[in-house]
């Protein structure tokens, strides 16, 4: 009986979605702002990667909110999970040889790749969030493979706070020097070069540090204290 009702409800939901989407033509541009970003984005922001131009420049304030949500999540998780008694250490069995060797060989490569992704955020696909997530997955490998290594919690918190601070301070500079928060006050330079697009690379490096250290501290508090 319950299954029949569930299937009926699913059919009704599917019909509703079908009816509401029928009028929208598939594949054609629905808004004009997307076309505007593609046409004018490179000239206005200096960033070749339009996604980065939208995320950091046109919608920079939204990105600040997004980073803040992640920050609060990391802080909350740390506060909830830090209940273990000080000095209590669980016995951990060492990782297998394959995992240990793989971790030692792969971690530098993953780290360099993540750094590359967020430094080149305005030129190639990727950016602060993607690079940070890649770096955090490298640290996950350290947690799994090289268990005798301790990852400094103070260092990751420092990187976290510095990233957020740089983001907000650069935004406030825009407010002081120009008219609005996160104004792109630095010279844009020539497109397609590493030092271009004004404040976008600086903010994306800050976001990369922040996201990487936040995700690392989330995983660390789950593995060590959970």
């Amino acid at each position: 009986m319950r299954k029949a009702i569930a299937i009926l409800l699913l059919i009704i939901v599917a019909l509703g979605i079908r009816l509401s989407l029928r009028k929208i033509p598939f594949g054609t541009p629905k808004t004009e702002v997307g076309r505007y970003y593609i046409d004018e984005g490179i000239e206005e922001t200096g960033a070749v990667n339009i996604v980065t131009a939208v995320v950091v420049n046109y919608r920079g304030f939204d990105t600040l909110g997004e980073v803040t949500v992640l920050f609060i999540a990391a802080i909350g998780l740390g506060a909830v999970l830090t209940t273990s008694v000080k000095g209590e250490t669980r016995k951990t069995q060492p990782a297998s040889l394959v995992l240990y060797t793989g971790c030692r060989l792969l971690f530098p490569l993953i780290f360099v790749f993540g750094t590359y992704v967020f430094i080149h955020g305005h030129l190639t696909p990727g950016g602060g969030f993607q690079g940070g997530a890649i770096i955090a997955s490298g640290f996950l490998l350290i947690y799994l493979g090289c268990r005798e290594r301790k990852i400094s919690r103070v260092g990751s918190n420092l990187a976290d706070s510095l990233g957020g601070l740089v983001f907000v301070i650069i935004g406030l500079f825009g407010l002081v020097l120009g008219s609005y928060f996160l104004l792109n006050f630095l010279p844009k330079g020539t497109a397609n070069t590493l030092v271009s697009a004004g404040i976008i690379p600086i903010i994306y490096v800050a976001i990369g540090f922040k996201v990487g250290s936040e995700l690392t501290s989330i995983i660390g508090s789950l593995i060590e204290e959970g």
């Binding site: 696909p125 995983i219 959970g226």
Partner: protein, 79 residues
């Protein structure tokens, strides 16, 4: 090309169904990671490499790891 994309979509559907069917929760998490991985390849083929990178790193690696850490503290098999 269309065959490859259809295969990926089929794989994604199989992973999604397997996630809800498996009684072993570790296997269910691996199936969910498979869904994320195929989604990331599909994003790449749909010319959204930014989303593909985020999906591969967060969806396939970090989420699965967090789920497995959580399962390690609870029960592995669903009744």
């Amino acid at each position: 090309m269309i065959v490859f994309v259809s295969f990926l979509v089929f794989l994604m559907l199989v992973g999604a169904v397997a996630t809800s069917v498996f009684r072993d929760l570790i296997s269910a998490v691996i199936a969910a990671a498979l869904v994320s991985l195929t989604a990331s390849i599909l994003f790449y083929l749909l010319q959204a490499p930014d989303v593909a990178m985020a999906e591969a790193a967060i969806g396939a690696a970090l989420t699965a790891a967090i789920f497995i850490i959580a399962i390690r503290r609870t029960k592995r098999y669903e009744e």
